[in-house]
């Protein structure tokens, strides 16, 4: 479904990603690990065309996405949950979700608001509350619910556990896996929380200084005993 061939990404003159290639099948779930500054967020934004200047091929369902803007990539089936949530604070929880659904411009096949809320019960009593009145954890759940409501082919999650209480992290992992299985949504998860990444994905990429240093499944990752110490330890 998603294919990257020799992708480089730049912010101005700064060369952030170096020759990244990866592929992800329909409904596949892939974790991108790495320290702060390794290039995880840049990778997700490059796939979304939402910031960095990108060189190389990004393909979705075989279509080359070269020159296609972020909003058009949404309509092709990508959805990004950014690291800083970026909930619209002036509209309600319900309207945040409806706004994401409107962005897809799909006439059918989207989950109803009730279905989305049922999957994320934390939002049940907050439906009419403004985004700006939610706690950080509630905003994070809403950011994920908003992305799932758009029923993308592939959801790009950028460190969704950052700043969340452990109990919310556990619940969020369960909800994401359930929802993605139900709607056939693939996951590309940039994360530093190994437990959460394991729960949500089946394969792992490891980035270090913008370069790919490991690619495999979790068993292979665990078998390479020095990876965590070399590339993830602080």
């Amino acid at each position: 479904m998603l294919e990257l061939n020799s992708v480089d990404a730049f912010y101005g003159q700064a060369h952030i990603l170096h020759d990244i290639s990866l592929s992800l099948a329909t409904g596949g779930r892939l974790a991108v690990l790495g320290r702060n500054g390794a290039g995880k967020s840049t990778l997700l934004k490059s796939i979304m065309n939402a910031g960095p200047r990108v060189r190389g091929e990004v393909r979705l369902e075989g279509e080359l996405l070269d020159g296609i803007g972020a909003s058009d990539r949404v309509r092709r089936g990508l959805s990004l949950v950014p690291e800083d949530r970026r909930i619209f604070t002036h509209i309600s929880v319900k309207e945040n979700i409806l706004l994401a659904q409107q962005g897809t411009e799909r006439k059918s096949g989207l989950p109803t608001l009730e279905e989305v809320i049922a999957r994320f019960p934390l939002l049940r009593d907050l439906v009419n509350r403004l985004g700006g009145q939610l706690s950080g954890g509630q905003q994070q759940v809403l950011a994920v619910a908003r992305a799932i409501a758009a029923r993308p082919r592939l959801m790009l999650l950028d460190e969704p556990t950052e700043g969340l209480a452990p109990v919310i992290v556990e619940d969020l992992a369960e909800k994401i896996v359930e929802a993605c299985a139900t709607y056939g949504i693939g996951i590309l998860l940039a994360e530093q929380n190994l437990w959460f990444a394991r729960q949500c994905t089946s394969r792992v990429l490891l980035l270090d200084s913008g370069s790919l240093v490991f690619s495999g499944d979790w068993a292979e990752f665990d078998a390479s005993t020095d990876l965590v110490e070399r590339y993830l330890a602080v």
Binding site: S71, F88, T89, H90, L99, Q102
Partner: protein
């Protein structure tokens, strides 16, 4: 003496609403496009000339007067769309001083074009007869003044409801507050910005069409309101419709009372207020939220 103050307060409210009518489009342009459109006064002036072209020196009826204001709204809104497509949009992402220079250039172009079409003369314009009278309720209240107050309130309510209660308005505010996220959610950011720009310029045209009466219509018309409109936008909080509304009334009252209390120092209270309010509330009386 009390009557003099009451009369002055009424005139202040009329002036305040007139300032708001001009500043509404200005603050909307800043809120959505993040540009200080120095050409706004020129577009206001074009709106007044368009209305004058329709009605002549005096509109034969209120309906003709309102129709002329509507035509001014549409014409100036269309010119604004053209200005956005050809100039402002191309300047997105470049330093703000380039946009300021572009707006200044547009202002000169508008003034020059209007001079070619309408000449340099000064025209005395009168409201339609139905708005030309005066009611005496102890103080003389002009019907045209009441009409301007009603128009100011109507535009304020229209913008408040349009932006905060309608789905389109909520999308426009989403784009204004976080264009990156709006884009990443799939919203048609360019289209929504274009609607906002058209509305902003159309408001300048509407203000010109409504305020043209009882004015000496000349190429300098924009300057007379633009300074106070900028004051209202800054003091109200950049991009805030509510802030501009409140600040416009404050400046209108200050200007009017100034002429009674300190007739030898016209306008001094507005400048003093501007300094004091910016020092006390640097983000404005009703600052617009951003993400």
């Amino acid at each position: 003496m009390t009557m003099l103050y009451l009369y002055s307060i009424f005139n202040g409210l009329v002036l305040g609403m007139a300032i708001f009518l001009v500043s509404a489009g200005l603050t909307l342009a800043f809120g959505i496009m993040k540009i200080f459109n120095f050409a706004h006064g020129a577009f206001f002036m074009i709106g007044a000339y368009v209305a004058y072209a329709v009605t002549g020196q005096e509109a034969s009826s209120l309906w003709i007067f309102l129709a002329a204001a509507l035509i001014a709204t549409i014409v100036v809104g269309s010119i604004g769309v053209l200005a956005d497509l050809t100039i402002f949009r191309r300047l997105a992402g470049v330093p703000a001083d380039y946009t300021l220079m572009a707006a200044f250039g547009i202002m000169l172009f508008c003034t020059g074009s209007t001079r070619i079409v309408f000449g340099q003369g000064i025209h005395a314009i009168y409201p339609p007869a139905i708005l030309g009278g005066i009611a005496d309720i102890g103080i003389p209240i002009s019907y045209y003044g009441l009409f301007i107050i009603a128009c100011g309130l109507a535009v304020f309510l229209m913008l408040e409801i349009g932006l905060n209660r309608t789905w389109l308005g909520k999308q426009i505010l989403a784009v204004a507050r976080d264009p990156w996220m709006a884009d990443v959610l799939g919203l048609r950011v360019r289209r929504l910005k274009l609607i906002s720009v058209a509305t902003s310029f159309a408001l300048a045209g509407l203000a010109g069409g409504l305020l043209v009466a009882n004015q000496a219509l000349s190429l300098d018309l924009g300057h007379s309101y633009l300074l106070l409109a900028f004051c209202a936008v800054i003091v109200g909080g950049l991009g805030s419709i509510r802030g501009a509304f409140i600040a416009a009334i404050i400046f209108g009252l200050a200007e009017s009372l100034n002429s009674v209390l300190m007739p030898t120092m016209p306008g001094i209270s507005s400048y003093a207020l501007l300094i004091i309010l910016v020092l006390i509330r640097p983000h404005g009386l009703w600052p617009e939220q951003s993400q």
